[in-house]
Every structure is written in C-alpha cells, then in structure tokens.
C-alpha cells in the first residue's frame, strides 16, 4: 500500500467546494482548490438573493470567499481543470491543466488600471451576457482572488499582436503576454468533486428565447434583479428598457421532459427560485403582475412551503398550474404571448412583458466524459452516482462528490454534502492529518504597556488611484501635525512587498506602537497590514485603517481638494481612535476532545461513526433500548437497500467500535458549559453520570404523525406509510389479496396547522407503490396527491410508477378525498383533476403518507440554548450556509430534528455536522478574537439586556461571587458585534477595538 498523503484536492470553486475546502483546511489538511474560472464563487456569486429568506447572496458568501483566499492551508489554482486522476485512495496523482492568466498573480494588486484602459469589450459571463466586460477583467468586484486576467480569445494583443495598452498602464508590471498554459501533477490523499452544474440552454425550446430579448433565463433574470447587475436591480424589458407590468415564469424548462430536452429529472431548485424572483420583483414594484406556470409546486424544503403560501396568499403572486405549449410575440410588438389551458380547462391567451424561463441544471458534457474516463460512474442523466448510505462517495474509492454534480440541489443541501464529502475525504487520511498543513508562526510581540502612543501614519498613493485625486503628500504632512503622531510618510503602494518591509523597519526604528494606513478598504487589506505589524513585533490590534480610495478618491474624482480635506479628516479621526487602541489578546481555550451525540437513529449513528473515523472518542446516547430510530420501521430505500438490515449492521458496527460508547435507555438530565467545555448529566441504569465533552451533535430525530383523518384506526385496511412498510417487510399475506391500493399524500402536512412539506413522502410512496406493482403487477394503484415532489432524479421513480400503471389523481385542500366503508371494500371518492368529475375507487388498502413531526425538542433547546421553530424543528445557524450548525458554538445538528429528509440526506447532514465538529476538535484550542465585548462589573446593573440581545449566548449573569448578579461575557462565544454594548444603559459593557470611547473620539474629531 502506498503512503498516505495529507492533502486533498477539491475540484470546483462554488459554494460546495468552498465549504469542503474550508472544513478540510480547518481540520489539518492542505487543500488544493482547482477552479475552472478565473476566480471562485460559482453560481452563488451571481445570485441576487437566496430563498427562502431572501438573504443577499453575495453578502453571505463574501466572508467565505475572503476566508478561502486568505487561508494558509488552501491553495487556489484557478483557470485550471483536472485532466486525469491516477493512484488510489490515500494517494492520488492528479493531472492538472492550467490556462495562462497573462497576469502575474503575485504582482497584480487588483487596481483595475488594465481593465480601465483595455479597449476590447466582450460579453460579461458574470452578468449572463447582459452586460459587457473588458478583455482584461475580474469576473466581479468581490472576486477571490482579486487578480485580473486577460481573456485570450478576446485580448487584441494576444489575438492580433497589437494593442498592449494594459501593460503600459499596469503599475506593477504584472502583465505577461508570454504566459503559457501549464500541465502539472498534484499528489493528494483524497479528491472531492464539486464541479457544479450548467444552466440548461433553452435556445431550441419553443419559448422564443432565441428570437426575443424579453425571454430570459432565470439566471439572466437574477442579474436583472441584482443591485450589482447591469441595470442596478431595476428590472427592465430588455427590448426597449421599459418597465414591465407583467412577468411570467415558465417552470421545468430543461427539466422533467424526455422529449424536447431529454432531461427526465427534476432540477430541484427552480420552483423556489421562481417564487423568490417573483417576490423580489414585486418588492421592486408592488404593482407588478407575476405569474408562475408550473406542473407541481416543489417547495419541499425548510421554510419553502411557507414562502410559497406567502407569495400566493399575501403577496399576490399568481400560480397557474399548466405547462405552456410555446411562447411567441407578434411581429414588432414587444409583448410575449403565452397560451395555456387554465385550471378549469379553458384555453387562454395572455400577454407578458417578460418571460423568465426557469432553466434546469445539467452537467457539463466534458465533465461527464472526464469523470467516466477516471472510473467514476454516472447516472443516465450524467450525475455522479452515489449510494444511500454513502451519499457523497463516488464509485471510485477515495474520491467524493458534493453539490449539483451529484444531483440537482439547492445551496444548503450542497453545503451539507460539502461537509459530508470533507468528512469522508479527511477520514480516509486522518492518520496523516497535519503533516502537510502549515501553521502560523507565532511572532514575538513587544510589550507596550506604559508607553505613550507613538503613531505612525502611512498614506498610500495606490499609483494614481488615490494620488491622482487626493494630495497624498499633503495628507501625510498633515498627519505629522496631529497629536501622538510620531511619524508619517506616503507610499506609492503601501501593500507592495517592499513597502511592507519598509513599514516594518520604520516601526522598529521609530519605536512606533500604533500604526495607521490610509489606503484602500480594511475589508480586503486589513489582514495584510496586521501581518506586517506582527512581523514588526506589534500586536495586530494596534492598527487602524483609513479608506481614502474606495470611499474617497474613487468617488470624489471631480473635487480633489475636498477629497483631500476628507482624507485629512478621516486620518485625524483615525489618529484619535488609534491613540486609544490597546493591544488585545486572543485567549486560547482548550477543547475537550470528546464528542456527545444525542440520538441513536441513522443520523446519530452516522455522526458518531464519522467522529470516530477521525479518531475522536464519542458517547452516543439513545433514549430507547435499541439503536436505529425511525429506520427500524422502514422497509426499502429508493435504490433498493433493505433499511432495517443496513441499520442493524450500522448499530452492530458502532457497538463494536472502541472509540464509541453507546448508551441506550439513557436520558439527558442537564447540560452546562459552552463550546469546548460542556458537562452533560446522563441518566441511565438508574444512575446519573456527568460526561465532559467538547462538542455535541443533536440528532434527536422525528416520528410519523398519527393521523386523525381518513378512517385511520377505524378500519384496519387504512395504514400509514410505515405500517405498510412493516407489512412489506414481513411479507404480510394480506397484501397478496389486495386488488386495489390507494395512497393519499400530504396527510398532516401542508395543512394550516402544520404548513411544511414532509419532503420524503412522495418518494416513499413511489417506492412502496412500485414494490406492490412488482409483487403483484395486476394490482390497481392510485395515488391521490397535491403536488408530486419527487425532486432530482427521484422523478424517475414517479415516471416509473406512471409507466407501470400507477394512476395519479390530484386533489386540493378544499376537496380532500372522502373515505368510507363500502359493502366490501373501502370507497374513496375524489374529484379527478383533469376531468373535474368525481370518481370512486374501491380499494382493499389505503396507505396514508403521513407527516414527519419532530421529537420533543424543548429540553435540548434549553440545555444548549438553541432555538426551535414554530413546528418544533431546531433552527440552524444559517439556512443557507450553516445548515448543520447551531448559532451556539460547539453544537451541531443533523437529521429529522432539523427537518424531514430521506436517509441519504440525513446521513450527509450527520457527516456534515461531524465535519463541523471535527474542525473545532482538530484545532484543539479555540482562539478567541481580540475584538470581543467585556464587562466592567462595577458599572453593571445586572439588567440582562445584553443576555437578551446576544444571539450567541455570550453574556450571562454571574451566579457566583464576586460580582454575583452582574453580567459577564464568555469571550469564546462572543463574535464582537457589539449589540450588547449598544443595549447597555449603564456603560458597563465595552467592545475592544470598537469601544464607545474610541468611536466617540472619532466623532469628536470628525
């Protein structure tokens, strides 16, 4: 066996790849991130808002982008693709082909002079072709790396040998026309494929897309909606830039269609994004008429159904259940005509200003072919094949997959899988964890206590970016006149390596103990300068940055004198603050290396195993006698695995795992402490025991709702899905006698009292119905449904069920099926949705797809201070980007306790939760940030306002002396937002780095 390598290659640069890379890099592995484009970000970077909460996509993503860009253990390889993978699990050789950038990434400072001068305009992919960019470009302003690229297809110099303007204006001589494509090999231990999807191209569809600019894809519309898009978020009809009055969305374009596009699967996300887009469009213009044409409304995720209901019932978005035949416009008129058949069967013609095609997801053909060539099995639709119980493992050992390459999915599911893939990729090489990851060298920091402030001010020209407008030398001269300023100078580029070295030298020579750089944005450059301070032996918090570029020279070009005034003012304000800066310490707190997993169902077991695979000790507590949870009651997965059998094997393996202590019939009595240092009181075998642990995974699961409707418990032929599973599992002879079986969907779900969709019941019903058909092909089977929600490739089960003769009849909430006892059989009456005629089915079996409800969550919620939603499901830290985390540090979430989900997704989430836990455990210590709140207890009144407003449970009221009854802040939990400080009436709370005194000093000098 070859030697294992402690690094991982992550292919792709979208949110999945980012999450996987961060998880791995934070747990002690070196990560190569290989991205095809010039910068990372993927499709999420193009989105305006994200459903169902309408968060700004870029806002929530950009901190992650920056984190990747700065991570010491992530190496970004952009403009690159995998050519081949040789070797085996633990030791792969990956051949990489990297295209030339023609810009020296080390020299480029991202000033944009090249793009400004570049004469060649081309279609801007980031804006879905709706705007132009230059041939010298960064894909978008927040791009990571923020390094320019010459587009060789369009650059005049590279195509025709002329021009060369960019090279003449580049201040750092970064342009290199001689750059060449490269091939090289990377030696890694594991590989994760997160290559994402391509949006379906609707050119050949009968929707007038090719002919009219007013028919746009959803991605194009996303750019239209986006504030950073070509129309600054002002939605216009592209043909004449008029404001639209009516917009239509056509669903399933490039999905659920084996005829015109050949994509039989459901793309999983389009229903929600169409709703989101319609809501946002209506926000822009409340008078806008929005209509969504759809087949089945697939709002199956957490908060989705509520969002759908809100759009429909409160915001007036119209929903038309019809797939339209075609779209056309008449001659020279801009309006797009859609013909459809209304719900009551009337052929209708309606004109819209804009038609949005909700295009589905496809896997790039090239990616498909390469994957196949590397021995990675794909489904017929070109997605990466995985198995239920190993949801992110590809067919090739040691290579994992996450995101849309596995199946069409949304961001949270992608992030979950990224965690799962990272967990597995790391577990394969956990013995060599830390062998390749680099560690930050701890510099020697000078003690400045007792010293009077000696401030150094460095004012940057940024070439002509600042210097062209602001009188930089004058600002530097002015700085010298300010109190406490010991030294001031101007630099051409403060961020250049030589300037950094010079600053460090000056700090030493002049014995500076506070540093101010007046240059660009602290959001991008503060860490860089802080490193310079560290190199010079200064605490990094003794730094203040003044943004005289983005906030000054760039936006006040025409008033250079006033811009200079502003720069002086801002420098004066910074000097006032800097004089009050204190060195801040980042306290280290050791993390108990043991994990507690609460719940012994599939999710809990998978989490426990995942943690043990990484070498951590785990205690798994289960309240029942037996492990397995709901899985014990099920029969078969969509892929045909016998669930109880696999579950039993999982349980057996776990019991045998020496890293895992399984305690059944156990209840949790109490939990104290916080991240890294929890103490849980366990009660079992008639005794109580205190377990110390550093992290906890909450996997308390859910159960089947016990229906009160449809004669359940009144007639033994009426079963729930799980009850039918039992009969199937036990080969119950009564099933052989069934001539007609009926399934009713949404029993207890999507009702006013339980508005969410239970997500898995449609698929469950398909599997059960197909099994019945397999056992007895002549059996008549009817499924009474509201919307079929067999998302992604589960759609093929729906198709197969139809093909095999299962008949689907849709009902609505106002006309639910009626069940009664007939003379011999059960009689089920329902109105056929096409014929609008009542029909009666005489059945021998009625299976109710009953809702999934969460198990009791109150206690856990109290113990860990984690929130629960109206329906009793736990609320994750962030719907999109932290779906398996809690906002309480050190506590993680998986399985049905989060939301109903099928087994593969539960396992993925369990592994993702474990992955998050591993990143914490692997760091062994939590370094608190310097920027945290603290309490001056003498001033504290103990009113608890701070406790109330903090979402992270950082403040608490001291229970013991000294200062009993006064507040204290746990710096480990504090994120430094300052909400508590602003809420404190008595002046007891302070925020280091942004203290009231410091800010008031700035105000005073403004």
């Amino acid at each position: 066996m070859s030697q294992k390598i402690g690094s991982v290659l992550v292919a792709g640069g979208g949110i999945g790849a980012i999450q996987a890379a961060l998880d791995l890099a934070d747990s002690g592995y070196y990560v190569y991130m290989v991205e095809k484009a010039a910068s990372i970000g993927g499709v999420m970077a193009q989105l305006d808002k994200t459903f169902p909460t309408n968060d700004c996509s870029m806002c929530i993503m950009s901190p992650k982008l920056v984190e990747v860009g700065r991570h010491i253990n992530i190496e970004l390889i952009t403009l690159a693709q995998i050519e081949d993978i040789k070797g085996e699990k633990g030791n792969f050789e990956v051949e990489i082909f990297q295209k030339a950038r023609y810009v020296d990434i080390d020299k480029c400072i991202g000033c944009g002079a090249c793009a400004e001068k570049c004469p060649k305009k081309v279609n801007d992919e980031y804006n879905a072709g709706l705007a132009k960019r230059k041939a010298a470009y960064v894909p978008y302003p927040q791009a990571v790396p923020l390094k320019y690229t010459l587009d060789p297809q369009n650059c005049i110099k590279l195509t025709k040998g002329k021009c060369g303007l960019c090279s003449t204006v580049c201040p750092t001589d970064a342009i290199n026309y001689e750059d060449t494509d490269k091939r090289f090999t990377l030696n890694v231990g594991s590989v994760i494929l997160s290559t994402g999807f391509e949006a379906f191209k609707p050119d050949e569809m009968p929707y007038n897309y090719k002919n009219s600019p007013d028919v746009v894809t959803s991605l194009e519309f996303e750019r239209l909606l986006s504030a950073s898009g070509p129309f600054q978020g002002h939605v216009v009809r592209l043909s004449d830039h008029a404001e639209p009055k009516k917009i239509a969305w056509l669903q399933c374009v490039g999905s659920r269609d084996i005829n015109t596009c050949g994509n039989g699967y459901c793309s999983s996300v389009c229903c929600m994004y169409a709703i989101k887009q319609s809501i946002i469009a209506k926000e822009h213009d409340p008078g806008l008429d929005c209509k969504i044409f759809y087949m089945d409304m697939r709002t199956y995720g957490k908060g989705f159904e509520e969002c759908y209901n809100q759009a429909k019932d409160e915001l007036g978005v119209k929903f038309e259940r019809c797939r339209v035949h075609s779209v056309y416009n008449t001659g020279t008129q801009p309006g797009q005509i859609i013909e459809y058949i209304s719900e009551d069967g009337v052929k209708t013609q309606e004109e819209f200003d804009i038609v949005v095609l909700s295009v589905g997801m496809e896997i790039n053909k090239d990616v498909q072919e390469k994957a196949k060539a590397m021995g990675i099995e794909l489904t017929d639709s070109g997605f990466c094949k995985t198995r239920t119980f190993a949801p992110t493992a590809t067919s090739r050992d040691g290579i994992y997959v996450c995101g849309a390459f596995q199946a069409p999915k949304d961001i949270p599911q992608t992030v979950i899988e990224a965690g799962s893939a990272a967990l597995c990729a790391g577990a394969d090489i956990s013995e060599v964890r830390g062998t390749l990851a680099r560690e930050v060298q701890e510099p020697v920091i000078k003690d400045i206590t007792g010293q009077r402030p000696k401030i150094g001010v460095f004012v940057c020209h940024c070439g002509i970016n600042i210097g062209g407008v602001v009188d930089v030398p004058a600002v530097a001269e002015y700085a010298k006149t300010l109190p406490n300023v010991e030294y001031a100078e101007d630099n051409l580029y403060s961020c250049s390596q030589d300037a950094q070295d010079a600053i460090a030298k000056v700090i030493a020579e002049k014995e500076l103990n506070r540093v101010i750089v007046a240059a660009c944005s602290p959001r991008t450059h503060e860490p860089l300068f802080q490193e310079t301070l560290l190199a010079a032996g200064l605490n990094k918090y003794l730094f203040e940055m003044v943004n005289i570029r983005n906030h000054d020279s760039w936006v006040h070009k025409d008033t250079p004198e006033k811009a200079t005034e502003k720069a002086k003012d801002q420098v004066r304000m910074a000097v006032a603050k800097a004089a009050m800066l204190e060195p801040l310490t980042e306290a280290n707190l050791s993390i108990n290396q043991h994990a507690l997993v609460i719940g012994g169902g599939i999710s809990g077991m998978a989490s426990a195993k995942a943690l043990a695979d990484h070498g951590y000790g785990v205690t798994l507590v289960e309240r029942n006698e037996k492990l397995g949870g709901q899985a014990n009651n099920l029969f078969m997965t969509a892929q045909g695995e016998n669930i109880p059998e696999v579950t039993a094997q999982m349980a057996k393996d776990l019991m045998a795992n020496e890293k895992v202590n399984v305690i059944t019939s156990c209840t949790l009595k109490d939990v104290e402490g916080f991240v890294g240092n929890f103490k849980a009181t366990l009660s079992y075998d008639g005794k109580e025991e205190v377990l110390e642990h550093g992290v906890a995974v909450v996997a308390t699961g859910g159960a089947e709702y016990q229906p009160k409707e449809y004669m359940y418990r009144e007639d033994e032929r009426v079963l729930t899905s799980q009850h039918l599973d039992k009969k199937l599992r036990e080969n119950d002879p009564s099933l052989d006698k069934v001539e007609t079986a009926v399934f009713i969907q949404c029993v207890g779900s999507r009702e006013p009292q339980r508005p969410y969709c239970s997500r898995l019941c449609c698929t469950h019903t398909m599997v059960s119905a197909l099994e019945l058909k397999k056992r007895k092909p002549e059996m008549s089977i009817f499924v009474l449904y509201r919307d079929i929600r067999t998302y992604a490739e589960k759609e093929f089960l729906y198709k197969e069920a139809r093909d095999k003769g299962v008949i689907f009849i849709r009902y609505d909430l106002l006309n639910k099926p009626k069940v009664r006892k007939g003379s011999e059989k059960l009689e089920i009456e329902v109105i056929d949705h096409v014929l609008k005629r009542p029909v009666v089915i005489e059945a021998d079996l009625l299976s109710l797809a009953s809702a999934i409800v969460p198990n009791e969550t109150d206690k856990i919620s109290q113990f860990f201070k984690v929130p629960v939603n109206d329906q009793g499901f736990f609320v994750e830290a962030h719907v999109k980007l932290a779906p398996s985390d809690f906002s309480t540090d050190g506590v993680f979430l998986a399985g049905l306790a989060h939301y109903p989900k099928p087994i593969d997704e539960a396992i993925a989430q369990a592994q993702a939760a474990a992955s998050s836990a591993v990143t914490l455990l692997a760091s062994k210590e939590i370094a608190t940030s310097g920027t945290v709140a603290w309490v001056n207890p003498a001033f504290c009144s103990g009113c608890g306002a701070c406790v109330a407003v903090c979402p992270y449970n950082a403040p608490s009221i001291r229970k013991e002396e000294p200062y009993k009854g006064r507040a204290e802040i746990n710096p480990v939990l504090c994120k430094g937002c300052g909400a508590c400080v602003a809420s404190c009436r008595s002046g007891a709370l302070h925020l280091s780095g942004f203290d009231e005194s410091q800010i008031l000093a700035m105000v005073e000098e403004a």
């Binding site: 019809c322 096409v834 014929l835 005629r837 009666v840």
Partner: protein, 427 residues
C-alpha cells in the same frame, strides 16, 4: 358534476391498446401537465381536449371515448406531440381510435374518397388514368401555344426520368388550367420529370380514414411502379397530406424505396439558389402587395421541420419581396394547423372545423396580408373557406401561381385565385 364514476386502474382497453400499437404510446406516462391542450387548436371543441382524451383513456373510460366524434375534429397536426414532455404520441392515438370505429360508421366523405381511390386505382375522385392522361395531353397542347413554352412536355411514365411528380387529382379533375403554372416552372427550370400512371392521384384519404390496409396498398402501388420507372426523386407537389401519406407510410409500413422522396418546395428553393429558376420580386416593388404563408403541418412540423420552413420562406420572399412578406406568429414548426387537415374537410363536422380555423383566421388577419400562400391543398381549401366564412379580405393562392406571376409567365386562365388587383397584372 354528476354521479361519481367508478374507476379501475390500468385496465382500460384503449390505454392497453395504445401501449401496444402506438410508438410513444404509454399514456400512463402522462403528467397531466396541460402542454398538449395549451397548444391544441381543437381544445374545447366538443368539450374535449387532448389531455382529457388521454386522461379518460388512462382512467379506463373507454366507452365514452371509443365513439367520441372529436377524433374526427382533431387534425392530427402533432402540435401536441411535438412538445409533450413525456413524448406521448397523441395524434397517433387518435388515429388508432379512428381505426377502431366500424369502417362503415366513419365519416362518409372520407370513406367514399378512400373507396373511390382504391377502386379507381387512380385518385380519390375516382377518375380513371385514361381521363387524367387525356387532360394532361390536352393541356400540354394548350400550353405549348404560349410564348416560350413551345417545347413544354408533361410526360407520363417516362422511364429513367429524374423526377416523378405526385399530382393531386383536384387540379386535373376540377381546375385543369391550374396544372399549367407548375409545368411552366418545371419547364423553365429544365427539369426532367414525369407523371406516373399507377395510383396517379397524390391524395390519400385512406390515411385519414385510418384504413391502414388501403393506405399502404396505395402507397406500395405507387412505389412499386416508380421502381419500375427507375426515377431518382419522387417529388410531392404543393400538397401537405399527400406528402405525409407517403412520408408516413414509408415509415409506418417499412416500405423500401430506391428513390428519394422530396417536396417540390425544396426543388423551387434549390432551383432559385442555383439560378435555374430566374425569378425575383421586382414586379411587386411598387405594388407592395402583402403576402403571408401558411406552413403546412404535414411537410413542416410533422416531417421536414425547420429546414423546410426556411426553404418555403426563401422561395416566398424571393418571389414577393422580403419587405412584402409578413409572417404569421407562431410559425414554422410551431405553426397552427389551419383546421383543414386530417380529413376534416370531408369529415362533416363543419362547425367545429371552422371554429378550429378561427385561430388561423385571426392569425392571418393580424398579418394584414392581401394574400395567403398555401402550398397545400387542404390548407388552401380551409384557408379559403374560413376567409369566406369569417369575412376575411385576403385571397388564398398556390405558390406556383405567384412564382409564375413573378416570372411573368402566368397565363390568363391560370388566375382563378388571384384578386382583382392582380387579375390582369403582367398580361
């Protein structure tokens, strides 16, 4: 809503039959998405639409369906099938249901035409070959009297000819002078062509009747005969269903051919491109008469698709001038059937046929065209009929008429479909 119907699952005979007989015929696959009915001009007629039809079959409501008159109103234009996400061949299902009607109860107009065709061994109008031959010979004489056509020929059964022409019997029987423009075009293009004697009529009502046996027999006779003649191209003239009768039969009945089967429109386009047919739109520069064109479903959506639609537009634009051409929307493969297809002109459901045609009529009205060019007999008849019925002001013409008009070779007697504005033009 009435009494609830008891339904059984997957036991409907029609549904089972469709699975066995119709390629793409698993009706169960239907998503009830409504795409078909959204795009179907027959939706709502007789309270039926394609989705409903399939649904009833799926639910086993065979009794109601088997004798539903709607099957004769549907023109099998395939606008539904073209975009059905589950690729369910609804028109073919309609055909199979037509076939399940007792033959004697199928619409008399269609049945009689089929019977006539079979009996006469010629065409649907029952005219024997001899009469056809006489008409042709007689007209050739008349034609040769015109300047420039002294050497015009219209041979029948000429062995080894490059092209064999599939002539709808309507012209020779009811308006023989309409034959001449086509001949002139062929002559001008220098084509080596021939008619043929066996089953000489191009039409095929047996197809509409869903009489597989007769449909196949007619086409096989034609094909066998053409094989004997040794022609290279079998050319369908300006008629949609006659095109599809052969195009479809070759596929449905696996008829082997050693010639290529094409449409005359392809030849028009080819000859114009090659310069063999010298025609332009100068004549209409000042007149500015507006033309639109009807895309026959049978030769466009159902068979030759976009390429054919482009060829057709190329020819029309060349002849009438791009600026004087106004397209209908939608058009090409998405075009609406005029309502004259599928045998509906003979089926006897005239009210429904006209209501169906109302969509086409409105489409034409929207173009404001003076003339509708209909390179199809059924389209021609239907478009003309709905024009009269709904008081349209347009004229309906064959493409050959306009080509000849543009070339300045349209004879005095060859203008029955032209309006007053062009009645004497260029004479």
């Amino acid at each position: 809503m009435g009494e609830p119907a008891k339904i059984r699952g997957s036991s409907g005979k029609l549904s089972e039959m469709a699975k066995a007989m119709v390629p793409d015929g698993n009706l169960n696959a239907c998503l009830t998405c409504g795409t078909c009915s959204s795009g179907c001009p027959a939706t709502g007629l007789m309270d039926m639409d394609p989705r409903k039809f399939i649904r009833m079959a799926v639910l086993g409501m065979d009794e109601e369906l088997e004798r539903h008159d709607w099957v004769w109103v549907c023109t099998m234009c395939k606008r539904c099938y073209d975009v059905c996400p589950m690729s369910i061949n609804i028109p073919q299902l309609i055909y199979e249901v037509r076939a399940r009607w007792p033959r004697e109860e199928r619409p008399k107009g269609i049945r009689a035409s089929c019977d006539m065709h079979v009996q006469s061994n010629g065409g649907a109008m029952g005219v024997p070959f001899e009469d056809f031959q006489f008409t042709v010979e007689d007209l050739v004489e008349e034609c040769r009297e015109q300047e420039g056509f002294e050497n015009l020929e219209a041979p029948i059964d000429k062995e080894g000819a490059m092209f064999a022409l599939n002539q709808n019997s309507r012209e020779p029987v009811t308006e023989p002078e309409e034959l001449m423009p086509l001949w002139k075009i062929l002559h001008k293009a220098g084509a080596d062509w021939t008619y043929y004697s066996q089953m000489w009529g191009g039409e095929n009502y047996c197809m509409f009747l869903a009489d597989d046996e007769s449909w196949e027999m007619i086409v096989r006779k034609q094909v066998d005969h053409l094989h004997k003649l040794g022609i290279k191209y079998f050319v369908n003239t300006e008629c949609g269903h006659s095109f599809y009768a052969i195009y479809g039969a070759i596929r449905r009945f696996n008829i082997e051919c050693n010639f290529e089967f094409i449409s005359i429109i392809q030849l028009y386009a080819k000859w114009i491109r090659e310069g063999k047919l010298q025609v332009n739109s100068d004549w209409n520069k000042e007149l500015g008469i507006k033309f639109t064109v009807q895309d026959p479903c049978n030769i466009i959506r159902k068979s030759l698709r976009e390429e054919m639609a482009e060829d057709l537009r190329f020819v029309v634009k060349t002849v009438v001038g791009e600026e004087n051409f106004v397209d209908m929307t939608p058009n090409g493969v998405l075009n609406y059937c005029c309502g004259g297809g599928g045998g509906s002109l003979q089926a006897g459901y005239n009210d429904e046929r006209r209501e169906y045609g109302k969509i086409k009529f409105n489409q034409i009205q929207q173009t404001n065209a003076d003339y509708v060019i209909t390179p199809c007999h059924n389209c021609h008849a239907q478009v003309e009929d709905i024009g009269h019925h709904f008081n349209g002001k347009y004229h309906t013409v064959h493409l050959w008429t306009i080509i000849c008009l543009a070339m300045g070779i349209l004879g005095e007697n060859e203008r029955i479909y032209l309006g007053e504005d062009l009645a004497d033009f260029g004479l």
